[in-house]
Each structure stands twice: as C-alpha cells, then as structure tokens.
Symmetry: C2
Subunit: 466 residues, 2 copies
C-alpha cells in the first residue's frame, strides 16, 4: 500500500469512530462496535468531537475503559472542565499511577489538591510515591502496575494468581517473585509459566539474578545498560529490596526520547528542550543563560583581537579571512564534541581508550586541516592575485598565513572538542553542557591568537611587508 | 542502595558466572545454576572468559539457548572463528531473523554467503526478506517471530495454539488474527485471552481496527504515531495485507535511538553518527563533505568582508568585535534551528502554525537581541573608553554600532534559523541536513554586511570620524 494511503487508512478509523458516535444507533450497539477500535483512535475521536458527543462517549463506557482512553490524551485538563470532579477522581483512581501523575501535573495546583483529597488512599499513596522523585531519577518514570507472586507458590497457584491480577494489571509479560518477607527474589517470564506443566517446580522457572534498578538511580547512569538487557520490564526496588514499581519498555522509549531530545537541545546551546507551545518569555529563559555567557566570552575574544590592532591596521586584508578560520575551527570542534559526547554516553571508556580517542581526533583534525589548509592556500592566493591585485609572492604569503593558521586551529580545535567533554564527564558534570557554543568560543580564542600572531610574525617581522 | 553499589551488584552477577564456568563442578550442575542468570549477563561473561571456557559454555547449552545468548553479543563475528561453520549455521537458524541479519551483516561477504547456503530454507527466506529492505524502511527493523491464530478458532483452540507457538516465539503479548485467506484481520491482547472464559466468542476479543505498518513505509514517517499508540508490537503488512513480521517495543527503542543519534550528528555537521571504532579515514569521509562546503562558503563571506577593506583600514578597532557579532548571530540561529527541527519532527504543523512559529522566533530574537545589544553597548563602550583611551562620544558611537548590528543580526538569524529548515521540510529534504554550520555561515554573511555597512554609514559618512 502506498504510504499516503496507509496514513489515510489510519485517519479513516478515527473518522469511522466519529461517525459512529454521531449516529442514532442504540447505545449498546455503539458500545459493542467501539470494541473493534484501538483506545488511541477513540481518544483522538474524543478530542475531535463536540462537548455533547464527548459526554455521550463517556456515558457509554465504564470508568476503567475511560481511564484507558484518557491515558492517550495529552492536555487532558482541558476536557476535564466538562466533567464533574467526582467522576474525574474515580477515573484517576482507575488510571495507572504514572499516567495519573502526568495528568495531575498539567492541572492548576488548586484543582490538583482538590482531586487528590477525593481519591482513595491506595491510589493517593502510589501517586505521592511517583511524585516524590526528581525528574532525573528513574523512579519518576515507573508505574506501580505489575504482577507478583509468592516464592512458595505452585505452578497452578501462580497461574491462577496471574489471571486474577491480569484484570487490573496490563504488564503481565514478566511476573515478579516475592519472598515471604516481600522482598524481590527474581522474575518469571509469562511465556515460561504458560508452557510449564502442572508438576514442574516454580523455582526452576525463576531467574533469580534478574536485572533491577534502584528507585533513586540517575536515569543517565542506568539507561544504557537497561537498553542492553532488552527486557519488557525491570523492577524498581527501594533500599530494602522491596518492589515499588516497574519500568516498562514503553517507559524506556519515553526516557530515550527525552534524554536525546535534551542532549540535542544542549548541543545547540539551549538549557532544555522547547516545544511549540512555549511562550516568548519561556523561550527567552531557556536561551538567555548561554547567550549572556557567550556575550562576555565574546568580549574577551574581542579584547584579545584588540591587542593585535596594530597588525590589523597595517595588513587590513588579513581581517577578511578571520571569520573563515574561526568558523572552520568552530565547526571542527563541534564535530569532535558531538562524537565524543555520544561515545562517552554509550561506553565506559578506559583511560587507554580515552587517550586513543584524543589521538584519533587530533589525527582527523590534522588530516582535514592539511587538506583544507592547502585548499585555502590555493584559492585565497588566487583570489588575492586575480581580484585584489596583489603580486604572486605577497598574495601567496598571505594565503599561506591563512592556510597554516587554519591547519593549526583545526588540530587544536579537535583536541579541545574531545578533551573538554571528557573533563566535564570526569568531574561528574553532564558533558553535553559543554555545548557547541562554549567550544566554539574557546576555539575562537585559540584561532585568533594563532592567526594574528602568525600574521604579525610572518608578514610584519619576517617579511617586513609594511 | 547507593548507585555505585548497584553497579557493582550488576557486575557481580557476571563475576559469579565467570567463577561458575571456571569451577570444577559437574556440567549438569553448572547448567542448572546458569538458569538463575539473565542471558545478557551470561553473554557478557562469554566475552570475558578465555576461548577454552567459551567452548565449555557452548557445550553446556543446546542450540536454542546459545542463540538467545548470542543475540546479546555485539561483534559476534570475532567469536565465531572459534566455532565450526556447521554449528554456527544451526545457531543462526535458531535466532530471530532480525538478530541473524545483524550478525551476518558484520561478517565478511564470503563467510556470509557460505553460511547462508548452509541454513534451512525457512530461515533463509526470513533473512532474505529482512535484508531486502532499505535502512530507512520500517521493514528493515521487523522480526518474523510472532504468534498468529485463525479467525474462526474457539477460545480453547486459540489458547492451545498460543501455548504451542510460545515454545518458538517470544513475542506473545499480542496475538495476531488471520482470515481464511491468511490476511491480517485484527489482534487480541494475550491478557484478554487468558482472562476469557471457555464459552466466550473469540471475535469479542478481537480489535479489528488495530494499527499496522506497511513494510516499505519510511521510518521517519511512521515513528511518531507508532510511539503514540504505545503498543507492545505492530504487524508489518505487505500490499496484500498479509503479515510479514512485527515491530516490537524493543525495535522502537532502537529506532528512536538511531533516528535521534542521526539528527544529533547532523546538527554538528557530521553526515552520519560515528562510534568509537571508526578509523581515521572513515571519520574523515563523514566530516569532510560539510567542511569543504563550508570552506568555500567561508571564502565567499571573506570576499564580502574584502569589499569593506576601506572601512577596516580606517576604523581598525571595528574588527575586534566582528567575531562577537558573528558568533552571537550564529548561536541564536542554531538555537532557532534546533527548536524548529524538533517541532517539525513532532507535529504536523498547519500553515498558520508555521507563520506563528516564525513570528515567535523573531520575537525571541528581538527581545534577546535587545537585551544583549544593550549589554554590549554598555560594556564595549566602557572597554573602549577605559582601556583603549577613546573619549566618551566616540567610544559609545562605536559600541552603539556594535549593539545595533548585534540586534539586527540576531533578529535575522532567528528568522533564518526557522525558515531554512521549514523550506527543506517543504521540499521533502530532511531539515536536519540544514545543519548548524550551514545556518551559521548564512548568518555570517548577513551579520558582516550589517556590521560593516553600518560602520561605514554611521562612523565614516555620518560622523565623519576619519
């Protein structure tokens, strides 16, 4: 099927649901037909119909079904105004605790507090637990919806327990096993339980050394190995080895998306990711910190150039190529930076590997610098001779100056772009903070001193141009 | 538990396995104890022991278990030299087709072809199918390992069929339903099947309008809605609506990671992501295209500055602040670029929303530009007066020139950083190609013309400084 057709097919489901809701069919009939559709499509239809039809849809479903649909809706707070607080509270009780937390966070604090008072103690406890974690702790992404059995169960008892819990819990692929004291002692794959015979021993199915996370663990520290294990879920344990909740593959998708989006933003010099709905003021707050810092760093670079004012006034043409050298040095530095940040994230590098990376980056800087230095020596020389009227000797002297400065600047930039994030990583600061803009400014300083210094030495002192 | 302790605990499992393998226990005993460990940990132990112990481990396990462990090992081709080709072929047959494809791709072509000839037809067919897709098509990520039942089964027959297939297939959370003609007609959640009573009708459990993907669909087109549905797996259909395979949540994690890593690299001006094992030559190939392009663009900017050579020689101090203005304009442009690229990815923007984003970005550019322009007017003026000996009027005239140029450059950069990726997106080119470096160079041109032009107008013509 053509891609466009598939997209239309997908939207077609939503259209069908909308038509169904707007039809005159009996409520029972509509309810039955809705069972053929995915909750996400029903959620989209929910957002596109009029408030009256929304009320109709809600009246068709029980609270559990409504909770399932609501977990797919962003900006749910907008629609809750159409419902009474008690119904909303019941729905929140039926939602997974992590979806409930997301929903409550979008609301005004007043409404939030009102609702929390109205929900049952068990749900309230779960919600408060998840809210107690910082954004960078893995506990903030967990769900309290999981299936567990006791260590001393038989296969038959285990299966019965799973079926009972499956009514309330969606995450049944991995069944967590608890000791008599309720501590975590392993996991069983549902697949193995289904295929087991009645007389098999449960303990043969248990993987006791199953990977787990600590609730206060930093996401950036555990996300890489979590991806390596490629499991459907991981238990989140507290310091007493009791299971508080689980992290599911869906949570991992969200975490990876958020973490990478964050790094992407940092590379561009933003303090955090922005979306379409940011106000001007919010955007300014996210961008100004770096911009102000860079302004002052830029003034520092400017004052260094100011030292060479004498050189500039004598060989004004030199100035034309300053931006070329600074830009190329900056770009090379940013390339090294991006590669190093990703490598630091993916692997635990030994000291030897780090030195190896620095050497490799300098080699790349050297080779690229040599190539580009030669290209600029040639073309700038031609430019000066043909378009600016310099004689061959002077023309190529100046372009030689540019070429050498380019080569030196590019080698140093590669090294700086590799060492700076390693240094930040070493002192336990997120290397992505060493964003493109910072590296570029540091490289500017180096490039400027190299270039004008060389112009002064070569052109003025050595060749006594002026 | 302290984060460090948890990490040690995890590595501890691997250590235990290594000690177990190196011990003198009976093979049967070692095999039984190994069942307590996760395949990923056994895989890591496999990589850390000596070749002899590796042989011992392989002899302990049947081919299916070895396949499971091997799916966790990167660079598997290094270890296969220690095994004979026939064993390797049997192992490949037991692996999921997508893991087998990854493994074969890492090998030399000769070895690859030899092995493919040795494996059975069914596995060969699956492998060839997955290999037939381009890297940017969703079919290249699918696995052929899924569970299906016929539409006309009873609950009992369905459950029996699932248990039979669960022996070979891991992905049992979602059961796909096929018509008599073997076309896709919906999905059943395993949870619903387990909880169903014997006499319920199967069709009540089937979601007929379950989301699916087309095998040749571009990943970048479907990844966003796939994440929205938050399902464990999605069927991959061909043009005749037959299921070829499925995309699992684990595949989605990999896709998201790869897509974002790619965008990250592009923002830094790399043509593709690099890893630790790239050779110098490979790195150069990935970085040179942009660097050469930028060199020539930089020479263009230089020739524009060359036009203003007269201005420079008269007001040499002007040059000091050129890098400041170009850097700030570049940074602002990159920030707008990063935000716009992410927004274009996440949402389908209407024409109205796009205009809105351009206006918002220009507002942010204006406000930040005004703030930073004022800061630079003040501090540069003070610098010139105190450190360079200019009188108040001339000092603030020059810094005013810088401030205004900064403001103008930042507004224009914000707009350019927003419009350029939108333009690329419109002509169906990946907007991430409009990388930071390109935007920076475009902004350089604008900034340089603004700055020197203004210096010429204000300082020379208007105030007749010189």
């Amino acid at each position: 099927m053509e891609e466009k057709e598939v997209l239309e097919e997908r939207n077609h489901y939503v259209q069908e649901i909308i038509e169904l809701l707007n039809s005159d069919l009996e409520k029972e009939e509509i309810k039955e037909k809705l069972e053929d559709y995915h909750d996400n499509d029903i959620a989209q239809a929910f957002e596109e119909v009029t408030p009256d039809v929304r009320k109709k849809l809600i009246s068709l479903m029980d609270e559990e079904q409504i909770s399932d649909i609501f977990s797919y809706i962003e900006d749910l707070d907008l629609y809750l105004e159409e419902m009474d607080m008690h119904s909303v509270a019941r729905i929140i009780e039926n939602m997974d605790a992590d979806d409930a937390v997301d929903l409550l966070e979008d609301m005004d604090e007043e409404v939030q507090n009102q609702l929390i008072e109205m929900i049952d103690d068990e749900s309230k406890e779960d919600i408060r637990l998840i809210q107690s974690y910082e954004d960078d702790e893995i506990g903030s992404y967990m769900t309290t919806n999981f299936v567990s059995i006791k260590e001393d169960s038989t296969i038959r008892q285990a299966m019965k327990s799973v079926v009972e819990q499956a009514g309330e819990n969606d995450n049944i692929m991995t069944i967590y096993v608890l000791s008599k004291e309720d501590t975590f002692c392993g996991a069983i794959a549902l697949k193995d339980l289904i295929c087991a015979r009645q007389n098999d021993a449960l303990e043969d199915l248990i993987v006791t050394s199953y990977p787990y996370v600590s609730d206060r663990e930093k996401i950036s520290d555990c996300i890489e190995w979590i991806k390596d294990y490629a499991e459907d879920s991981y238990p989140v344990l507290n310091s007493e080895m009791k299971i508080l909740g689980i992290i599911t593959a869906q949570d991992i998708i969200e975490v990876v998306d958020d973490e990478m989006g964050d790094d992407y933003a940092k590379l561009a010099g933003l303090t955090a990711e922005e979306d379409l709905n940011e106000t001007t003021k919010q955007s300014m707050k996210k961008r100004l910190p770096w911009l102000v810092a860079l302004l002052f760093l830029g003034m520092l670079v400017s004052s260094v150039v100011g030292v060479f004012e004498g050189v500039v006034s004598k060989v004004a043409i030199i100035v034309c190529f300053q931006s070329l050298i600074l830009d190329m040095a900056g770009n090379v530095g940013t390339q090294s930076l991006a590669v190093t940040i990703r490598v630091l994230m993916d692997e635990n590098l030994s000291g030897k590997q780090k030195i190896g990376l620095i050497f490799k980056e300098s080699r790349v800087g050297l080779c690229n610098g040599f190539l580009l230095g030669s290209l600029s020596f040639l073309f700038i020389g031609i430019y000066l001779i043909v378009l600016k009227g310099y004689d061959v000797f002077h023309g190529f002297c100046i372009s030689g100056c540019v070429g050498i400065a380019l080569l030196v600047a590019m080698i140093i930039s590669s090294i700086v772009g590799t060492i700076v994030p390693m240094f930040f990583h070493r002192i336990k600061v997120d290397p992505a903070v060493a964003s493109g803009p910072l590296i570029t400014t540091v490289n500017d300083l180096v490039a400027v001193i190299t270039y004008y210094g060389m112009a002064w030495i070569l052109l003025i002192e050595l060749f006594k141009f002026y």
